[in-house]
């Protein structure tokens, strides 16, 4: 091992030599392991990985994402999910009945610019990710605020076993949904309430890798509550 735990590494940094396994954001060359991205090096049971500080979102089946409609085609919508690949939401996965494009337009149900909470059902990089809204809590966003944060910060916003997001919901009395693609939906009773929770979420994203963050965010919420 060639690094200290949680050391900042850059692409090309030699992390380890010998009997190890390559985890996320690490590549192997003969018996040498290198970082491929800027982040914090991490070793757990011979598994060398790098916790990313920058990176784009790649869909995984089962992820909940928040997408923005950018195109309506006869029986589907194309969604911007802040990933290199646009999401496809078929009408049959959004409406509970089939949509007959001869009779009605897809735009009637979802128009360009509207936001949707959906889950990823399939993705393998050879085809665009397909999305579905067939579950409760999924579907078109009717109210609230959506903010964008870096997708690499999502694990911190959720926290260990949901500790951070649980605290946010409890202290602010708002509904919050974190998309794995780095979009956060916040719905409260007033716009002001949503705005200060949004500010707290941005603060978490900015200070993601500092210690004692949950307590500081709690203080921040309490002092801003009216």
């Amino acid at each position: 091992m060639n690094f200290e735990q949680r050391q900042l590494v850059v692409p090309g940094t030699l992390l380890a030599e010998g009997k190890y396994e390559a985890g996320f954001n690490v590549y192997r060359d003969a018996d040498q392991y290198f970082a491929s991205i800027v982040g914090l090096a991490d070793l757990r049971n011979d598994l060398v990985s790098v916790i990313p500080l920058r990176g784009c979102y790649l869909p995984q089946p089962g992820d909940i994402v928040i997408g923005k409609v950018i195109e309506c085609i006869p029986t589907a919508w194309m969604l911007d999910i802040r990933s290199p690949y646009q999401g496809v939401l078929f009408a049959s996965e959004f409406l509970s009945k089939p949509l007959n494009p001869m009779r009605e337009e897809a735009r009637k149900y979802l128009d360009v610019g509207e936001m949707v909470i959906a889950s990823v059902i399939a993705f393998d990089r050879t085809r665009n990710p397909s999305l579905s809204c067939r579950d409760h809590n999924l579907g078109k966003i009717q109210r609230g605020t959506v903010i964008d944060v870096d997708a690499t910060r999502v694990p911190r916003i959720i926290g260990k076993k949901g500790s951070m997001i649980g605290m946010l919901k409890k202290e602010s009395n708002t509904q919050i949904m974190v998309g794995q693609n780095g979009r956060v939906w916040i719905s409260g009773k007033t716009r002001d309430e949503e705005a200060y929770v949004a500010a707290a979420v941005r603060k978490i994203a900015d200070e993601a890798h500092t210690s004692g963050l949950t307590d500081r965010i709690r203080e921040y919420l309490v002092s801003n509550r009216r």
Binding site: P11, G12, I37, V38, I51, R54, C56, P155, G159, T210
Partner: protein, 244 residues
């Protein structure tokens, strides 16, 4: 025609540097808001701004490759970047440098991670004083890091020239124009791999071998500065690490 000497008798160049001394180099990361990654470099009097977009859906679509991402570089010189006004229309030289830079950075990027997408690198030369391709490649690899694109290594780049019969490291504009030869190289230090090597002018085989040694040394110096720039940029926000 009488020209002033570029190297004094005791081996000092006309800007006060030793033969193997670099100009003052300053990298900055994350300077632009509307790009996925960006970097700015001041390399002596050469000033270059780089923005990276992507990986994103490839436009036009027919250029997308089914097995990897397409890398595209757009090298452009501002009209005010050189002593005489440069026409804003793309020149032959700019098109060539775009190609050369694209191919110098390509081997470093894991393009196979993002099939069917494109990664666009926009390079704007604000002020040119020699070695713009080297400065552009070095800065662009930092912008790629800032965009979070997986890479094998950083690409560091520098040029060696032959001026008044002597090899000099990090060629400035005057030395490039009045010297006998110019040889830029891009290099991935931890892979010991050369991704770009060009030369114009004439040098001997022995001088070529000595140039390569000098270039490697120069690239390592640039590499060190690139690493320092990344650490300075990311350390500010991410100290005292603790994870979810």
């Amino acid at each position: 025609m009488t020209t002033e000497k570029l190297i004094s008798d005791d081996g000092i160049r006309n800007d006060g540097r030793k033969l193997d001394e670099l100009r003052k180099i300053k990298f900055e990361i994350g300077v632009l808001k509307n790009t996925d990654g960006s970097a700015y470099v001041e390399w002596g009097r050469t000033k270059i701004l780089v923005g990276v977009m992507g990986p994103r859906e490839s436009h036009p679509k027919h250029l997308a490759m089914p097995d990897r991402a397409r890398i595209d570089a757009f090298y452009r010189m501002a009209s005010f970047s050189v002593e005489e006004w440069k026409s804003p229309a793309p020149s032959r030289r700019e098109t060539e440098l775009s190609k050369v830079i694209r191919e110098a950075l390509g081997p470093a990027v894991f393009t196979e991670y993002f099939p069917r997408t494109s990664i666009d690198i926009f390079i704007e030369v604000l002020q040119a004083d020699g070695s713009t391709r080297c400065a552009a490649i070095s800065a662009a690899s930092l912008a790629l890091v800032d965009a979070g694109i997986p890479m094998r290594d950083l690409v560091a780049s520098i040029a060696v020239g032959k001026v008044e019969g002597q090899l000099v490291l990090d060629v400035q504009d005057k030395e490039d124009k009045e010297g006998e030869s110019d040889m830029p190289m891009a290099y991935m230090p931890s892979k010991n791999a050369v991704t770009l090597l060009q030369m114009d002018g004439q040098i001997t085989h022995d001088e070529f071998l000595r140039s390569i040694e000098l270039l490697k040394k120069g690239c390592l110096d640039v590499y060190k500065m690139q690493k320092e720039a990344i650490e300075a940029h990311f350390k500010v926000n991410e100290s005292n690490t603790e994870e979810a």
